[in-house]
Symmetry: C2
Subunit: 137 residues, 2 copies
């Protein structure tokens, strides 16, 4: 399952790449930083270098296996791009990340860019707010 994903992406099958992919696929947390992924793998008893984690995640991103997001935390977080495109809503209290997709917003973005003569290659939309659980705090 995993190894075929790697081959499709034109990447050689190596232990670190397998481990990282497996970890991302099995983790309940969808959005994690390179450091967090690294720590988790170490805790799982894997021998892996931080540099490798950064390198592999960048390769995965280039291959389209993974998406990198820059929320306001400063450090990038990565998520498996198994789902289609979506945007994010981040809780400013607890840091929870939810995903959403809105056809109307997507289309309007393209229109706005077209009006200005731009050819959009990418966009990032992130909403920040308090999630239901954090509304009182």
């Amino acid at each position: 399952m995993e190894s075929s994903d790697l081959k499709k992406a034109g990447l050689k099958i190596t232990l670190p790449r397998m481990k990282i992919l497996e970890f991302l696929e099995s983790s309940k947390i969808r959005h994690q930083s390179a450091e967090e992924i690294y720590r988790s793998l170490l805790n799982d008893g894997e021998e892996i270098g931080l540099a490798t984690v950064y390198r592999v995640l960048t390769q995965f991103e280039t291959a389209g296996l993974v998406e990198r997001h820059h929320f306001e935390s400063g450090q990038a977080v990565f998520e498996l791009s198994e789902k289609g495109h979506h945007d994010h809503i981040v809780c400013v209290s607890c840091g929870k990340v939810e995903e959403f997709y809105d056809e109307l917003i997507e289309n309007r973005q393209r229109e706005v860019a077209d009006e200005k003569g731009y050819h959009v290659t990418d966009h990032s939309l992130t909403l920040y707010g308090k999630c239901p659980d954090c509304r009182d705090s």
Copy 2:
């Protein structure tokens, strides 16, 4: 003009703060990094420290005089918040930044968040693409 802005923001009137505000108000480039602002002030013959530029920009941001944006370049850029809210479209080739405001998108964002039970405090929407001048390159 400028000093009253500072007083309103609850900030003491100091030379560095004046210089930075004046620079931002007179610069034709609306979106600049702390380092760029620092360099420009040095070139203008001002004596100012990089630490002060960072410090003052953060104070300005807190006071609402300035907005900080994290585009994909890695370093933050600052802009005077004289205009109302708006989003950005960034050229991936030349780095040019344009602004836009779309009522439809704004409203829809609020609706999407409401549906999920979030109270939105902020959002960031940035489109990336090629501007008309860079379409061929």
